[in-house]
């Protein structure tokens, strides 16, 4: 009889979950059932579709009733629509979250949490149901979509303006204006130009921007007949750099002057690369050094060594923590966005200049947005309707 008293509620909970359902978000609920007296059971179990995914995932959350003896472990049991029960996982006591990643989209599952004590079922939680589904739009990224659309519209508008031949003013960027001078200096001194494209791979946008500038520098060195050295820290970057430099030499009409061996792979190791490049600087004594791309702690090691050999140095990165080092050690520094503006600035192509202008217009839009946000947030402290505006603006720019 004791066994029957213990097992009956469990059987009831397993076989008849539908009968015990109550309406509510995330599915049905029944009373938590402690089979052994004073054993902690899971309460407030909720099951919900994992948001913003391709489906197949259901999140389970619950709390443990702190009144009784803590169970040894807890089990997550899933019932499919046919009523077949499956223990998905046995978790340590105290766990309050589980993610079922094996759900099939569109199928309604019922979940329950079972408490184990001494290897036996000691309690069963209420049940909860949920259906996994896929979403067509990430709700946490709608603001970003709006912002991206505005940016794209502004850029495309200014590109069209540029194509129509309208004069577009772009402020002078010292570091980019000095590119020709740096290559010219190296030519006059009969020394090579050293180009360092950072330490990241081709999936980094700064490395891509660096490759674009490398093309321009390669064309200049080809025209002037100056040696261009490009040590790389990634194999893919080396391959791309070889193609970019080769193309630059071709466009300058000097394919014969292209030396493949001057674009070489050193090592993937951060400080190994720094040591290798420092060695090249000390041995070859380049007259001009370009440090353009993503840099970390090696930035100052490279820039200071370059300075010690008397080279004119043009650096550029979007890494905020490395910019002060470049400012302190280099002659010119492209700060953040200037690195990405280089291609347009150097080519003076109307389409590219238009995109740059569009970028500036977008920046103005964001400045206005930030100022509005600051005002709304400040005024919102005293006048609640403005706090709502501040929250809206915050949600708009928050990306999950």
């Amino acid at each position: 009889m004791t066994i029957l008293r213990g097992v009956f509620p469990l059987l009831l909970a397993l076989v008849l979950p539908g009968a015990m359902m109550a309406a509510g978000d995330g599915g049905a609920r029944v009373m938590a059932v402690p089979i052994q007296p004073n054993v902690g059971v899971a309460i407030d179990l909720t099951a919900s579709d994992n948001p913003n995914d391709a489906g197949g995932v259901i999140n389970l959350e619950w709390a443990m009733d702190s009144g009784g003896v803590e169970p040894d472990s807890i089990g997550v049991v899933r019932l499919d629509p046919s009523g077949e029960a499956d223990t998905l996982a046995v978790l340590p006591a105290g766990t309050v979250f589980y993610r079922d990643t094996t759900a099939v989209n569109g199928t309604e599952y019922t979940y329950k949490i079972v408490s184990y004590l001494g290897g036996k079922v000691a309690g069963v939680s209420e049940t909860a149901t949920a259906v996994a589904s896929a979403q067509w739009l990430h709700s946490g990224r709608i603001g970003m979509l709006v912002i991206l659309s505005i940016m794209a519209a502004l850029i495309l508008y200014y590109i069209e303006t540029g194509k129509k031949g309208k004069e577009l003013y772009i402020r002078e960027i010292g570091g980019l204006a000095a590119v020709d001078d740096a290559v010219g200096r190296a030519t006059e001194m009969g020394k090579p130009v050293l180009y360092i494209p950072g330490i990241m791979d081709m999936d980094d946008i700064q490395t891509i921007a660096s490759m674009v500038i490398l093309g321009r520098v390669a064309r200049k060195t080809a025209e002037y007949g100056t040696t261009l050295l490009v040590p790389t820290s990634r194999s893919v970057v080396m391959s791309v750099a070889q193609e970019v430099v080769k193309e630059g030499y071709l466009q300058a009409g000097r394919p014969d002057a292209y030396v493949k061996e001057n674009i070489q792979y050193l090592t993937d190791d951060q400080f190994g690369y720094a040591a290798g490049v420092d060695g090249i600087m000390v041995r070859e004594k380049p007259a001009a050094i370009f440090l353009l791309g993503t840099f970390y702690a090696e930035s100052l090691i490279l820039a200071e060594t370059g300075r010690s050999v008397g080279a004119i140095q043009i650096a550029g990165t979007a890494m905020p923590s490395q910019i002060p080092f470049f400012v302190a050690a280099c002659d010119y520094t492209l700060i953040g966005e200037e690195l990405f503006a280089a291609s347009a600035y150097l080519s003076r192509e109307p389409k590219l200049l238009g995109s740059l202008k569009g970028q500036d217009a977008a920046k103005l839009f964001f400045i206005v947005l930030i100022v509005l946000g600051v005002i709304a947030s400040t005024v919102g402290q005293f006048w609640p309707p403005m706090a709502t505006v501040a929250d809206f603006l915050r949600d708009l720019v928050t990306v999950e």
Partner: protein, 207 residues
């Protein structure tokens, strides 16, 4: 054709990644994940390319007795020894590969890193010279931050650590965020230029 195919590939791959960011539904999630996996496969394959380039450059240097060729055998021997030891004994802890890595490669990396302290000192010496009002401002704020970081700062005046916290949390953070926001917009603009084929210089056909 030489230009159209790469542009089409760039547009397709770029659009898939953008759509993957905003649309979690299939097939975009699947395509986005797989594009990234393909990149990893290509990058892994390129390791052989890098090794081949390293060997080619240094063997050529030795063969032609180019300047500083004496360093090349050291590089090649290092590469071959590590490669052979790794292939024969594996790379687990306690194996010869691990021994050489922990006792040669790691200390050499640490040595390079530690050089940074001296470079910071020399760069700071130049940057902090009070040559104009902006440099003087930099010098003053840096002095305040350094003083606020050590106990003697609080001993001189208990408000100095608070001034340090304010400098780091307000003007410094504002400056850093300005750079980050500008860079982020540059990233978006560059990506859009490439995806829509406006920026083509990376293909060697800008003009």
């Amino acid at each position: 054709m030489r230009l159209v195919i790469p542009l089409a590939i760039t547009f397709t791959a770029g659009m898939i990644m953008i759509l993957n960011f905003f649309i979690p539904h299939q097939p975009f999630a699947f395509l986005g994940e797989h594009l990234q996996e393909w990149y990893m496969i290509v990058a892994s394959g390129a390791i052989f390319l890098g090794t081949a380039n390293l060997l080619h450059v240094h063997v050529r240097k030795m063969k032609l007795r180019l300047r500083n060729w004496q360093y090349s055998p050291v590089t090649i021997i290092g590469l071959v020894v590590m490669l052979i030891l790794g292939l024969i004994y594996g790379v687990e802890e306690g194996k010869p590969f691990d021994y050489l890595f922990m006792n040669m490669v790691a200390p050499m990396g640490a040595t390079m890193f530690s050089l940074l302290a001296f470079f910071v000192a020399s760069a700071a010496f130049r940057a902090f010279r009070a040559s104009n009002w902006r440099a003087t401002l930099l010098l003053s704020s840096a002095f305040l931050v350094m003083l606020g970081q050590v106990p003697i700062g609080a001993m001189i005046w208990n408000k100095i650590p608070l001034a340090k916290v304010w400098l780091m949390a307000i003007p410094n953070t504002a400056g850093q965020r300005a750079v980050m926001i500008g860079a982020a917009m540059g990233v978006v603009a560059t990506s859009l230029r490439m995806i829509f084929g406006i920026e083509r210089s990376y293909l060697g056909g800008a003009d």
